[in-house]
Structure formats: C-alpha cells, structure tokens
Amino acid sequence: MANVTAFLTRTRGRGRLHWTDWASYAYLALGVFLMFGPVIWLVVSSFKTQAELDRFPPRFLPYAPETVQLDGHAEPLPLFRVTDGPLAGETVAQVRRIGLTSQVVRPEAPGEVVKINRADRVPVERVKPALENYRTLFERFDFMRYFWNSTFITLTATAITLLVNSMAAFALAKYEFRGRGAVVALVIGVLMVPQSVVLVPLFMVTREFGMLDSPWGVIIPGAATPTGVFLLRQYMLTIPDEILDAARMDKASEWKIFWRIVLPLSAPAIAVLAILSIMWRWNDFLWPLIALSRSENYTLQLALNSFQGEMRTEWSSLLAMTVLTLLPVALVFAFLQKYIATGIASTGGK
C-alpha cells in the first residue's frame, strides 16, 4: 500500500529526488515498456515482409535473406552458412533444394555444385527494412486524395463537434432551467448506445437526408457526441460562477461569456475532446464504410483497409498503413497535449 500511496500527490521539484520520485520513474519506465513497446514493435514490423511477418517465433528486427549474384545463374541465389559436413563453416549459395538435400555452390567456384543435408545449413540474413511495404501503398492508390478526404472530414467534424458540444455543455453546466435534468439524462442515456448497434437505422436516416456518399454524411451524424457534452459539462462545472458574474458586470453578452471566458478556461477539456474527436474521425472505419461507397470520397482508413480480403489480409501493407495513419494523429496529439498540462493554477480570485 505504502508505495502506491506515495505517488498519489504531486511534489514540487526540489533538486533532490525523494524516493517517491524514484517510484514514479520506475512506474513510468514500466509504462514505457508496456505501452510503448508494442507500438515500437508495430512500427518495426511495418518494415517486415509478409514472409517475415508469418515467421514463428517472431524476431524484433526485419531480416531479409542475403543473396548473391553468380555467373551462370539468372536469379540471385540465397546464401547459407554450413554448420556441418565437409563444408562446415563456409558460406555457400544454394542453387536448388530437392527434398532433404540441398545443392549449393561456393561463391568462389560457381560452377561446382555440392550436395549437402538441408539440416546442416542456416540462412545468412541481415537487417533490411522492407521499404516496399510503403512504396506499394503510394503506388497502389492516390494517397494524397484520400489523405485530403480524411483531413477534411477530420478537421471539419472536429470543429463542429467542439463548437456544438461545448455550447451544449455550457448551457447544461452554467444555467439553471427547467428540463435541464431531462436533457442531461437523455444525453447520458443515448451516450450508452453504441453506434454499431444502430448502424442500420442510422444509415436509413442519413439516406433520407441525402447525405450518403458525401463527406457530410460522415461529418454530421457523429458531430453531437454525448461523450463530448458530458466531458465538457463536468469540466465546466469546476469554473467558478463568480468569474462569469464578473464578466456579466463587464456587460459581456452570454455568447461572449461563453467563448471568451468559459471556452478558454475549459482548454484542458477542449483539448482532450479535440484529441479524441480527431482520433475518432481519423480512425473511423465502420461508419464511413457504410456512408461512403464511391472510392473518390474514401477516407484513408477505407482505402487502406481495402487490403483486407475475405481469406487473407495483407498484413505488411496494413501495418505500413497503420503507421502512416498514426503519424498525423500523433503529431496532433503532441501539439494539443500541452494545453492539458497548462491548467489554471489559480482562479484569479482571493
């Protein structure tokens, strides 16, 4: 218990490291290992060939067999090291393998074929990132177009979400009016029902609005997220009413109070929601899949997921795509997270 409890309060940097600081760093190190390890694994894996991905047990770095171009052989030949038999210790090139025997040549003497047991050789490999995973991505489709589609949808949707949700949250947090309880209950109630459950009716509704197959069909239906309203509202409750009162005395209209006082003061929560929304929209797959059917409107996620077939998924491409799509959101996160950290240390009151 004690070591858990020790982290539980903030300390102030005081040069000397308290043991709780050590504990914190230990926890963080573990976090890096657990949280970030797999992500690194993922990034490294995106540079592996499909064969390397299929390999059991997996290896951390991408390897590719070393080959050599020899006279008299059209194709480059794979290199092996011989572990046993007369050629033990030598590096040879394999010409072909039949059953349990393998026909090899020494690179110095390409003409002379030797037969060795296949169990007596190990392939020579070296680290080689499979950049072709990325190359094919760009070759296979119009990356920029999908990137633009995704960006447009993500940014527009996030802007709308932030605006609409913060307005609602403001009303629910800072005004007393009849029906407020009901609205809050409704918001939370609906918050519960996952989109995957109402896909069909949602599709029907969207169709009625003629928004299918247009970016708006993706943007609008998800704009009023109950999560956002709830999150922002709870945060806005912590803003002292007195500051709003001061603004009222300053003859600020309610709208102005909203966007000049409450919005900036909710910056941490807004940043959380922005990150969240950007991430949702950028990674969203299920709904765009339904709402968009023309490939020119596709988002990056859709386009890239087209590597998923019935029986088989091209993991190498899928991973490369994951890494690619991860980058922009990671950047956005890096940018926005500082707003979360800069809370209002004091409320400007007494």
Binding site: F56, R207, R312
Partner: protein, 399 residues
C-alpha cells in the same frame, strides 16, 4: 456513362480485372468503369444494406452468391445463353433464386475448392508414407500423428475455423444437409458423426486446438501461419492459399496439395468462390451486362484466372489448362491439383454452396461446433442448439 464496380480482393483480382476492363472501355466509347476497391467487410456487411436501401453500386464482386440473388440483374436478355450454359454449367445455379429460376446472373470469376496442404518434408523426415487418394480422415489422422511425433512437430492437423471448411468432411461422413424436399436440415447423423470426431481430435491434440479453440463466435481463423512455419503436418484449407504458401514458405520445406480425405459417404471438398454480378438497380443494365459478358469471354476469363492465380470455372478454359503467370512450379502444381478435384465434388456440396441461406448454416455450425470443442456444450447439446438456430434463421428469412 459511369459504371460503379465494387470490388474486393484477396490478392490482385481487382487489378487483374481492371486491366481487362480497360480494354472494354477502349472498345466502348463513353463508358467509364470505376472500380471501388473495398475491404471484404464492405461486401459482406454493407453491400446488402446498400442494396436494400437502393443505394448500391452497378456491379460488384460478391461471395454471398445466393443470399443476394434477389438484387441481381438478369443478364440473360443481353448475353448468349448457350455460351454461358456451356461454359459455366451448374455453377450458374449458385446465383439463382431457386430451382425454378433460369436466369443468368453472375460470372464466377474465382472458383475455389477446399482441400489439404501437407508438409511433404516432414513426411520424408519421419519416413512415413503419404496416405493415398482413398485414405480416410482416420488414416490421415493416424499418419499425421505419427509424423508429428517423429519430427516433434507441435500439430498434426488443422482445419480452418470456418463453417464452409468443415462442410466437405461432414458430407464425406454422410451429412445430407438438406431434407428430401430440399429444405435445409443441417444436423443429421452424418453431420453429428463428423462433429463428434472433430471434437475428439481437438481434444486429443490431433487437431491444433488453437485454431478452433482459441477463437469464438463466427470469427474466421486460419492456420496458414503454423503451416508456413513448419509446425503443422496437414492443413485443410483451400486453393486460395496457394499463392501465400508459395511466397511465404519459399524453400523452407516442400509442400503439396492432396485430394480431400474420404469418409464413408464421399471424398469431397467444398467448392466456393466469388463472382461478379450486376444489380437490378443499375441505370445502365445493357452496359453492365455487356461488361460482364466481356469478362466471360474465353480469352479474357483465361487471362483473369491466370493473373489472379485462380482455378477456372469456365469449362473450356479449364479443359485447356491455365498457364499461371509468375507462379512457381510448386504453386502451379498445387493449383492444378486443386483443379483436378473439381469433378470429384459431391453434389450435396455443390447444392450447399448454391443454397441462398448457406451462410447462416455455415455460421451456425461454426459457432456451435466451437462451443462443443471448448466444452461449453456437449456435442449433442450443440447439435440441438444448431437445429434451433437454423429454425430461427429460416423463420426470419421467411421460409
């Protein structure tokens, strides 16, 4: 005019078709075909909704051949019926709404057939004879166990986790699947027998338990990775995996495709695959029909199968044999070995593949057999539940 073609691919099928379609566009002025390449999920889950809502594409490559039949565009008025009947014969039935329907709806662009891959090298190392073409599932189980023991390979056998995959073996064990009058029954003595055997094999470790045991619901799960890594002696999958085996195994070991093992009733696999269909909703039925017909022309069809490394469903193409582009000898041999099995497919398997609610039956058998394997239900309970499920599904689909 713009034609929308919704296509998914397991390899390069869409690109292969695309090349042929370009030729079509060149021949037909003013027609532009846009291929919307989608994830398979879209075909399976969204296309039906879109079709129901009337917002679907003009044509698509589909796998739920019977399930979507009510939306298909009948090509018969626009194409040479004789040519189609002759080339595709019974496969045309798979697209039809029922026994009395004689429309022509789709081009079976990708015929698949289930069957086993074996790790020949392991057999050689263990010095165990590879069972012959008449060998039963029990023979194979026996032989592969021996190989696995001798070579310390973790698993003897595996079957993909799929209702479709176990249909072949079940039919071999006498499953009829349909009653006399053609109504689906799914569970019968033959089916139960195989289910029992399969469950036992999973429990005694003959079958790799990870495949069926470690997943749930109707998830598809293959064992290709285990096979590729030489951890599996006998892998019951299908022709679509040839390409992957070829590229991923490389020369790590020798592998082969053999005929489906036998049961008391048959030695059959399941046919399957995907086809290109047009939809009634299209604004341009003639062009859609013309395009599909174009793809069905013999040389185009041959081109398509050769490029996408598939088994031809086109009789004449099959008869001539396909020279697969860029495939190794081993792969070509494997594909031909699969193609050779097409004639031995049981009529029940054929009918099953063509039945419009077969996906429901696949899923039901999959889910319930899985539960029996992990011990949530006994085999009898599982079978009883499967019957109930089928009844509910049929009731809902109006039968």
């Amino acid at each position: 005019q713009e034609i929308r073609f919704m296509c998914y691919s397991d390899g390069n099928e869409c690109e292969a078709a695309g090349e042929i379609i370009e030729r079509f566009e060149a021949e037909n002025d003013g027609v532009s075909v846009v291929i919307d390449k989608v994830p398979y999920k879209a075909i399976l889950e969204n296309l039906p909704v879109q079709l129901a809502a009337g917002t679907g594409p003009d044509m698509a490559k589909v796998t739920d051949l019977g399930g979507l039949s009510k939306y298909y565009l009948d090509l018969a008025p626009h194409v040479d019926r004789a040519y189609w009947e002759e080339s595709f014969g019974p496969i045309l039935d798979w697209y039809r709404k029922g026994p009395d329907d004689d429309g022509i709806y789709g081009l079976h662009s990708q015929l698949t057939i289930t069957g086993p891959f074996i790790n020949r090298t392991l057999f050689d190392q263990a010095e165990v004879e590879v069972p012959g073409p008449d060998a039963t599932w029990d023979d194979w189980a026996e032989a592969t166990r021996k190989v696995a023991e001798a070579t310390e390979t973790p698993f003897a056998m595996a079957i993909d986790r799929s209702g479709h995959r176990i249909a072949g073996p079940a039919i071999s064990y006498g499953a009829k699947l349909f009653g006399e009058d053609g109504t689906p029954t799914l569970v019968d003595e033959g089916f139960t027998t195989f289910a029992q055997k399969f469950v036992d094999w999973n429990k005694d470790g003959t079958m790799a338990p990870d495949v069926w045991g470690a997943a749930g619901g109707t998830t598809y799960q293959d064992a290709a990775q285990e096979f590729i890594n030489g951890e599996l002696v006998f892998y019951y999958s299908g022709s679509w995996n040839v390409q992957r085996m070829d590229s991923s195994i490389g020369d790590a070991f020798d592998w082969e495709v053999v005929g489906s093992p036998c049961g008391p009733a048959a030695c059959t696999g399941m046919p399957g695959g995907a086809g290109i269909v047009g939809f009634e909703q299209t604004q341009h039925p003639e062009i859609v029909a013309k395009l599909i017909d174009f793809l069905a022309e013999k040389e185009n069809y041959a081109d398509l199968t050769a490029k996408s490394l598939n088994i031809p469903a086109h009789a004449a193409v099959a008869a001539e044999g396909v020279t697969y582009e860029g495939a190794s000898e081993q792969a070509a041999a494997a594909l031909n070995a699969f193609a050779a099995q097409v004639p031995t497919v049981s009529p029940i398997a054929f009918a099953y593949q063509g039945y419009k609610n077969n996906r429901a039956m696949f899923n039901i058998s999959l889910a319930r057999v899985s539960q029996a394997i992990v011990g949530e239900l006994t085999v009898e309970e599982a079978m009883a539940r499967a019957k109930d499920d089928l009844a509910q599904a049929l009731a809902e689909s109006g039968e």
